[in-house]
Amino acid sequence: MATGRPSFGTREGTSVQVFDGFTVVELADRRNQFIGKIMAESGARVIQIEPVEGSPGRWIGPFADDKEDPNKCLDYWWYNTGKESIAIDITRKPGQDLVRGLIAQADVFIESTKPGTLKGYGLDYDSVSAEHPELIYLSFTDMGQNGPWVDFEMNDHAHLALGGPMGSSGYSDPKETPIGGQRNHAYNMSSVLATHTITGALFERLSSERGQYIDISIHDVVGISTEAAVPYWLWYNQAALRQTGQHAAVKYRPTTQIMCSDGKLVQVTMPQMPLNAWVQMVKWMEEVGVAEELSDPKWRDDFYRADRLRNGDEIHEGIIRLLSKVTSEEAFHRGQALGMAWAVIRAAEENMDLDHYKQRDYWQPIEHEEIGKTILYPRALHTNDLLGTRPKSRAPHLGEHTSSILKNDLDLDDRTIEAMTKTGVVR
């Protein structure tokens, strides 16, 4: 049985991965798959138990060549790099026994079923921890294990709505809809917090040699994710206005998305600018002929500039004039040279051409024989060889490792495996 004791050496500089030697078993679900991915990218062995019809994550899309195929779902590919797949019907007793056998060999078990579901299968924490007290058992669910809304039907976007991100995000028009970002953000952010919790529990177990139960509610996590919104309500009863592309605030503020000469937007921050940077900024404005009144020496006074930044629009208007005369890339780099945290509003894929991330070894090649192609994956979440974070291999095909896991991990013989396959207990 895995104990979490050190299972690797201590040589300085070796590519020791943080989760080396740990086994994670996860019940496939759209909510939790990012947790296993992060752990697999840092050395854990992650076994995903799928239903025989495939993980719900295999049917999301998009699909390679837009043809629906559980082994060609790109969303699934992303969230399941480096895992092994075993397909088991856990609604049946023989399937439940297999899951119990796998959990007995695991350091971490992750599930996202509705509360009470696994108790009916004898797979709840109390049942499995009696014989395996070292197990770290995470229930990662929409609402946690208790509360009046525990049976709510949710999806990722519903979490962004109920949990607050959409309440703060949208447009500077009180009639316009709030907006939630595209692509599993509630699940992602909650998974990061959950992985932190698991890592802490493993840290603790190195001393105590005991596991524990963890209850994480996605709604709880998303609910604290909106920065100062809730603290401001709790202290001041202040409610905020949604504003295009920037923080919700009590009053409307000037736009921070500014159009450049190449038709691209740059996200600006209103500068906390020391005098020498201000002088350079004005010089830049003068070069392109838009400085106007900002050339006046009175603007070199820190107090005057700070006051007008808060109470006037001259600096903001000057920056709009400036950026209308330069390309977005020039605005970005020259703004950065002046200490401005400006950034081009890029489409995600436009980052793939940038030298900076190539220099950081961020993009990792993974071969996909399904499409006869190697494609580049971002690392999740840290570009760090000492932690070991990098995707190791493509996502598994449905039930790709069923036989090998049954044979090697559960000691089943070929005949038994064949019978289970025929009767649909496994695939």
Binding site: D151, I179, Q182, V192, H196, E227, Q359, K373, L386
Partner: protein, 435 residues
């Protein structure tokens, strides 16, 4: 002031972190350790306290030097505590230290030598300029876990570039993936990548501590917030490479509709009422299954939609989303948002109001039942409610009663007990502007 801080007992009891964090992303990364008993020492420069203690009051140029503490009344005591600071630094210790003074640097090196972790979110190059690059840090403490949080990471040609949450969101593609088609991106109405980005950094620190405990080795985590942000968008990169489909295209982003999975309805719908800022109230509704669609039609009293050729299959409903959304909006418009939620959730349909902060605190029965707003006692501002740190661990629970430190609160403990400086020497250091 008291000397030894009363920290909760947890699995990080005895773990000491030197915390040069400011703004939001850095403070969050280390704030995740305090519920488990870690001793996180937040270091502020003398004469210029953490700007979150001032709640966005002006800190420009020379004006920063004249920051003054809050006073509730002209003759009341001054204090340096605000909602944001209280939230981000809960459970930490606070000292002042002048790192521009040679003696200040000596004290810092001694503190690092006795610590397990160091976290900072300065721009790239700042610690190097102090003579505290990774090579030097390793010399001081070979077991040190060093987390640097920056927009673009320290390595690479943009290593010195600056970034805040909104810039990281813009640069990564996160801003671009949130909005209505044909309009500017709506982006995120808060610093998503300062909060979630801070959590990703905090995970790097926790992973580093676990690795250190297993191997005895320190590690330098050069964490780039924009890289974590791109990892939040992973499938877009695959779709671009495999199907040649960029996100910069006319129908993207699609507002609150779902591109994948291909389901409809999946949108926000205006309902009765406005919030206290005059913004319309909306409810989000989605039907991912045929059963949910049938239940929605039943609750709306529109069974005829089930046989309407425009809506029979999911593909039909996707193809006719505009008219479908109009029908649902007509039904929601005169109704209250929580009433809609209850009616539809009772029959298993995904339906929730778009809640703002007030809603989550005052009307969210689930968050209240889960005790998400524990009361914190603070010596300067009294008792107040604060957001709870969410994980529930059965055997080593997170503590949720840590409060943010008042200014210089733990000077005696850190300089006296940890570094062994006597009171006479401490006075000399104070007078010399070192602490």
């Amino acid at each position: 002031m008291t000397s030894k801080p009363q920290l909760p007992q947890g699995f990080l009891t005895g773990t000491r972190i030197v915390d040069f964090s400011w703004k939001t992303v850095g403070p969050w990364a280390t704030r995740m350790l305090t519920p488990y008993g870690a001793e996180v020492i937040h270091i502020e420069p003398p004469h210029r306290p953490d700007d979150h203690r001032f709640e966005f009051r002006p800190v420009y140029g020379d004006a920063a030097k004249n920051q003054t503490a809050f006073r509730d009344a002209p003759d009341s005591p001054a204090y340096y505590t605000t909602p944001n600071f209280s939230h981000l630094h809960a459970g930490k210790l606070a000292i002042n230290l002048n790192t521009r003074h040679p003696e200040g640097m000596q004290l810092l090196e001694k503190l690092i030598a006795t610590s397990d972790g160091l976290s900072e979110n300065f721009s790239g190059g700042v610690l190097d300029s102090w003579g505290l690059g990774w090579d030097r840090l390793k010399e001081i403490n070979p077991k040190l876990v060093y987390l640097s949080l920056s927009g673009y990471g320290h390595k690479g040609e943009w290593g010195s570039y600056r970034s805040y949450g909104p810039s990281a969101q813009a640069s990564s593609g996160l801003t671009f993936s949130s909005g209505l088609p044909g309009k500017n991106p709506a982006g995120w109405g808060y610093s998503y990548m300062d909060v979630t980005g801070g959590w990703c950094g905090g995970l790097g620190m926790m992973m580093g501590l676990l690795r250190m405990k297993r191997t005895g080795e320190g590690v330098y985590v050069d964490y780039a917030v924009t890289e974590a942000a791109m990892a939040m968008l992973g499938p877009f990169f695959l779709d671009y490479q495999v199907n040649g489909r960029p996100t910069r295209r006319p129908d993207f982003p699609p507002g609150n509709r779902s591109i994948w999975p291909e389901v409809a309805p999946h949108n926000t719908y205006r309902c009765a009422g406005i919030d206290r800022q005059g913004q319309d109230w909306f409810v989000f509704i989605a039907c991912e299954t045929q059963q949910q669609w049938e239940s929605l039609c039943a609750v709306m009293g529109k069974p005829e939609l089930l046989s309407d050729p425009r809506f029979v299959t999911m593909a039909d409903r996707r193809a006719n989303q505009d008219v479908l959304d109009d029908i649902i909006s007509t039904w929601t418009a005169p109704r209250r948002r929580y009433e809609i939620m209850t009616l539809l959730q009772d029959v298993g349909v995904i339906a929730v109001p778009i809640q703002n902060a007030e809603d989550r605190v005052e009307y969210d029965a689930q968050l209240r039942a889960r005790e998400m707003y524990p009361v914190i006692a603070h010596p300067e501002v009294g008792e107040f409610e604060m957001e709870r740190y969410p994980p529930r661990l059965s055997r080593t629970p997170a503590d949720n009663h840590g409060r943010a430190p008042i200014l210089k609160e733990h000077e005696e403990y850190v300089f006296g007990e940890i570094l062994g400086i006597d009171s006479q020497e401490m006075n000399r250091l104070r007078e010399g502007g070192v602490i």
